[in-house]
């Protein structure tokens, strides 16, 4: 069964968002998403310092038989990308919420995160989806 950690926010397109102490956001894809996708073989990450807007395509995650776009959950600027994903994309499967994070960003407006789903809402969406 997929995990849905309570301390995260979720987008309809299956990204999770963690609000860090300094107000920056860490973004990855959910356990449910990585299970559905299967073995991840490649992740294309956004450029550092890129300005990204909510719901815009920012990254791509590939499995053998599928490729899915990753969307920015909120608007802001990319401040860090996960260098491990280039050589070991499998960490997205192994540790979606910890080692398998995609990128960090500075949101334009911290309030925007509030519009995302909480764990219960997201879990309900996934179950209905299934």
């Amino acid at each position: 069964m997929a995990e849905f950690p309570d301390d995260l926010r979720y987008a309809e397109t299956h990204e999770w968002v963690r609000v860090e102490d300094d107000g920056t956001l860490t973004i990855g894809i959910s356990d449910y998403a990585q299970e559905t996708l299967g073995d991840v073989v490649f992740v294309e990450l956004p450029e550092l310092d890129a300005e990204i807007s909510a719901k815009g395509e920012v990254a791509v995650v590939e499995s053998v038989k599928a490729a899915s776009d990753i969307y920015a959950p909120v608007s802001g600027r990319v401040i860090e990308i996960n260098p491990e994903l280039e050589d070991t994309p499998e960490v997205v499967n192994e540790s979606p919420f910890e080692k398998g994070w995609f990128f960090k960003m500075q949101p334009d407006d911290a309030e925007d995160v509030e519009s995302l789903m909480d764990a219960a809402q997201y879990q309900k969406m996934c179950e209905e989806d299934h």
């Binding site: 073995d39 073989v41 490649f42 053998v64 038989k65 994309p89």
Partner: protein
């Protein structure tokens, strides 16, 4: 074992060349310093190596190959031989017309046949594959709107069941792609289409019979909706074999189409190519047809065939390759058309349809679920194994792999995407009843195995040169060229 692993320094096929000569008139900086590193093997080693590799392939010549949407019918050897006559093989693509009347006459006649078969006004043979035919077709749609100074049309509509080439083509031609839903009976959802169509619609790309293996019954209404909105209608000829000699796409209201001659006209698929994807157009798109096409005029009381280029078709979308396209494949298609003749051509769609319906019914009797059981099958049909996947834990991929052990190439799997756990099956008209029965028996046997010993099916294939391959390793640790370790 790779050919490189058979090499010995200094070996080569010495009958194939005279010794290397010294080059004295090229500057040193233009010359290669180190040898490229091609294999060093004898002629017999080469012949044996590739003969043995060929044995590791399934093929139409060897096995029943009911790959849905690919029309793997018998490729007549006579057509292959006819196209391989030295006079055809040795002709340079830029040889003058006067010394090209043989090949030009064949191509001209093929154009005429294809016009008649499709009900279109003009045909260009130049696109080199189905996908390039699609490109040419949509590029013509764009050229047509541009010529009308109509630059607001930015979208191409595509039913969601379409081949992936359709949306990819739309984008290559600079369009946004909007997908239109398909109903549970496999027809285009007319309400969804009406909601999607508008002044931004450049056209609709459609396959009929559709990739769901059923004939789109409302095709005339769809044509009307698109035309009233000012758009044009594209016919993807992937499934032309189903209606060859029975229905002409031009009569259904299509403005432009491509044909896959490697499917419908039985030219060999060659392990993924070459193909050939001629386009046909109605009157509105004739001014934009890709060049060259072959024309005919009377000269000294005889027929004279010539290349028609942009001088005669100023609006053309132009050439799509360095020369005229895949002439050698077109000659095979021409030969096939001559062998079949008018009567044979009428029978293609009929017997392709008979075989598919017979096979569908027999599979249904054997306990399989058809995706569209209330519909007539066309030249192909879909079996869905979602019940087997759910109840037995054996999915469509497992069935496909196990079929290989029974000596049958697997049908197309997991396409169209909207039917879960599906097999898209196309027997073609050239297969006999016994062959179809044998396939159905194998499927029934696999179903029994799935119930009694599912591991056998999930572990298949076991009789092939390799077992299931690690696709994940292939993608994560890219090894795309051999390097000496």
């Amino acid at each position: 074992m790779l050919i490189y692993e058979r090499e010995s320094k200094g070996r080569s096929a010495r009958a194939q060349y005279q010794p290397e000569q010294e080059i004295t008139d090229l500057p040193a900086h233009c010359l290669r310093n180190e040898r490229a590193g091609l294999p060093e093997v004898s002629e017999l080693q080469v012949v044996r190596h590739y003969t043995n590799l060929s044995r590791k392939n399934f093929s139409i010549d060897g096995e029943f190959y009911p790959l849905g949407s690919c029309t793997m019918k018998y490729n007549p050897r006579g057509a292959h031989k006819a196209a391989s006559i030295p006079g055809f093989l040795n002709r340079h693509p830029l040889a003058p017309e006067r010394y090209s009347q043989g090949v030009l006459s064949c191509l001209y006649e093929l154009q005429e046949y294809l016009k008649d078969i499709t009900g279109m006004k003009a045909v260009s043979l130049t696109p080199m594959a189905g996908a390039q035919g699609e490109f040419a077709g949509v590029a013509m749609i764009r050229a047509y709107h541009n010529a009308n100074n109509d630059f607001e049309r930015t979208e191409i509509l595509i039913p969601s069941a379409a081949h992936g080439t359709n949306p990819a083509t739309g984008v290559m031609c600079g369009y946004k792609v909007r997908e239109v839903d398909v109903t549970k009976d496999g027809d285009v959802d007319i309400d969804a289409l009406k909601a999607a169509v508008g002044p931004q619609t450049a056209g609709l790309m459609m396959t009929n019979p559709s990739t769901c293996g059923v004939f789109e019954r409302k095709v005339e209404e769809i044509a009307q909706i698109i035309h009233e909105a000012g758009g044009l209608l594209y016919y993807d000829g992937a499934n032309l074999n189903a209606i060859l000699g029975k229905v002409k796409p031009g009569d259904m209201g299509f403005d432009v189409l491509h044909m896959n001659l490697h499917k419908t006209f039985a030219t060999p698929h060659g392990g993924g190519g070459p193909g050939s994807g001629p386009v046909g157009v109605g009157p509105r798109l004739e001014p934009f047809i890709p060049t060259p096409v072959v024309g005919k005029r009377s000269q000294n009381d005889a027929d004279y065939y010539y290349w028609v280029d942009e001088k005669e078709i100023p609006g053309t979308i132009g050439n799509l390759s360095a020369f005229m396209g895949n002439a050698g494949i077109l000659l095979r298609a021409y030969a096939y058309a001559r062998l079949l003749g008018r009567e044979g051509m009428h029978r293609v769609g009929e017997y392709a349809t008979l075989n598919a319906n017979y096979m569908a019914r027999r599979l249904e009797q054997a306990g399989f679920q058809l995706a569209y059981s209330s519909r007539r099958a066309t030249h192909e049909f879909i079996v869905t194994l979602s019940r087997e996947a759910r109840e037995l834990g054996v999915n469509a991929m497992d069935f496909a792999k196990r079929l290989l052990d029974y000596g049958y190439h697997a049908p197309t799997t997991y396409f169209p995407l909207l039917i879960p756990e599906c097999l898209l099956i196309e027997p073609t008209e050239t297969e006999s009843r016994e062959e179809i029965d044998g396939f159905v028996d194998a499927m029934a046997m696999i179903l029994r195995e799935a119930k009694e010993c599912p591991e056998t099916v999930k572990g298949a294939p076991v009789t092939m040169p390799v077992k299931r391959l690690d696709d994940v390793k292939a993608a994560r640790n890219l090894d795309l060229a051999w390097r000496e370790s």
